[in-house]
């Protein structure tokens, strides 16, 4: 199995943390869930949930594409394994891929930072809220199969926040 290898360093001059060559920052579930709530609440003004999904997709696609290139990883299944590990490395939860392929597949999450944080903060909800996870999956699939962003449609079909024992995402072209 391909193993994700990312070095962490602290730039003492600028007081910045880097994971690989990306500036990284620690934030908590309050921030992630409040950004998510903000995205939902702003719907009358702007499609905030779409922005949240797309910015995650763009960032993840960029990080993974660069990682694959620099580490010579070309097999899509290995690439997906790396993506799954990156999701956990970021502290976003645990993904299990179900029948993944270039046409899509499904992703299950027994834990998710946004969902666990949401439940911890506000309790269960009536609709899926893991737009960050949705965008991550879209970026991860696109990078794995050398596709541009917005290639994959990802829908959260079952949600931890709504009381399910695991979240389930459908991935399609």
């Amino acid at each position: 199995m391909a193993a994700l290898k990312l070095a962490h360093r602290f730039d003492a001059e600028r007081c910045r943390h880097f994971i690989g060559d990306q500036v990284s920052v620690l934030h908590c579930h309050h921030y992630a869930t409040l950004f998510t709530q903000l995205a939902i609440d702003a719907q009358d003004l702007v499609d905030g949930t779409k922005i949240l999904k797309e910015v995650t997709e763009d960032v993840v696609h960029g990080v993974l594409t660069k990682y694959y290139s620099e580490n010579g990883i070309s097999d899509p299944q290995e690439r997906l394994e790396i993506g799954v590990q990156l999701y956990s490395f970021y502290g976003l939860g645990k993904m299990v891929l179900v029948s993944p392929g270039s046409g899509g597949g499904a992703v299950e999450m027994s834990t998710a930072h946004v969902d666990e944080g949401w439940i911890k903060k506000w309790g269960k909800g009536k609709a899926p809220v893991n737009f960050i996870g949705t965008g991550f999956i879209a970026g991860m699939f696109a990078a794995a199969f050398d596709k541009p962003v917005r290639t994959y449609q990802v829908d959260e079909k079952q949600s931890r926040v709504m009381g399910a024992d695991k979240s389930v995402f459908a991935v399609s072209l």
């Binding site: 990306q22 908590c28 502290g91």
Partner: protein
């Protein structure tokens, strides 16, 4: 014993965030994530840029509030953590030391290379940030200069730290103690200033600024 800012930054910057087998990072009484700064900046920039000018202020307030609430709860988690007890607490002689220590931790964690340059206990605080990830948003604008001050996270967290210091006992529900202070950004690297500057005052005085 005075606060040794350099020692706090050196020691606290080594605290590692590692996910558990469930891919979750529980730390400081919260769940932590370590996403690229580009993600946080990307969301705030796209949200602010996407709305009409007349509602930009409203969206900005929501972004600040998210950081304010985060800073209140995570800030409390930090100052009650074992890491704080081991590294910072031996240097703390009073509330003001807690605030100086908190900004050293804020710096160590990569949020902003920041320090308090003026503090009137319970009344006013001025924070200066010499480097902060939110300033990187300027790279996305023409001429690498943001059209407005955009350090929403620093604004929210700075106000939250004053809430924790002078707003009364910590309230995990956030119904009391939170939002007793507000912060205005007066300078920003993202707009071409040499540093970011942030003025925190009691919430009741904010509208007079």
């Amino acid at each position: 014993m005075a606060i040794d800012r350099n020692k706090i930054i050196a020691d606290m910057s080594k605290v590692k965030a590692e996910s558990n087998p469930d891919g979750i990072i529980p730390a400081f009484n919260v769940l932590v994530n370590q996403m690229p700064a580009q993600f946080w900046n990307g969301f705030t920039r796209r949200m602010v840029d996407a709305v009409a000018d007349e509602v930009k202020d409203a969206v900005e307030e929501l972004l600040i509030n998210a950081a304010h609430e985060c800073g209140y709860h995570t800030g409390y988690g930090i100052i009650t953590s074992k890491e704080w007890d081991a590294i910072v607490k031996p240097m703390v002689g009073g509330v003001e030391d807690v605030l100086h220590g908190a900004f050293a931790v804020f710096t160590a964690w990569g949020w902003a290379k920041s320090e308090i340059v003026e503090l009137v206990p319970g009344k006013r605080m001025v924070v200066r940030a010499h480097d902060y990830y939110e300033a990187d948003v300027a790279q996305e604008y023409p001429g690498k200069k943001a059209p407005r001050l955009m350090a929403y996270m620093i604004r929210g967290v700075s106000a939250a730290f004053m809430d924790l210091a002078y707003g009364g006992a910590y309230d995990s529900t956030g119904k009391q103690g939170l939002y007793t202070f507000r912060c205005k950004q007066t300078k920003g690297i993202e707009k071409g200033d040499p540093f970011g500057e942030f003025l925190v005052v009691p919430a009741a005085e904010y509208d007079t600024l």
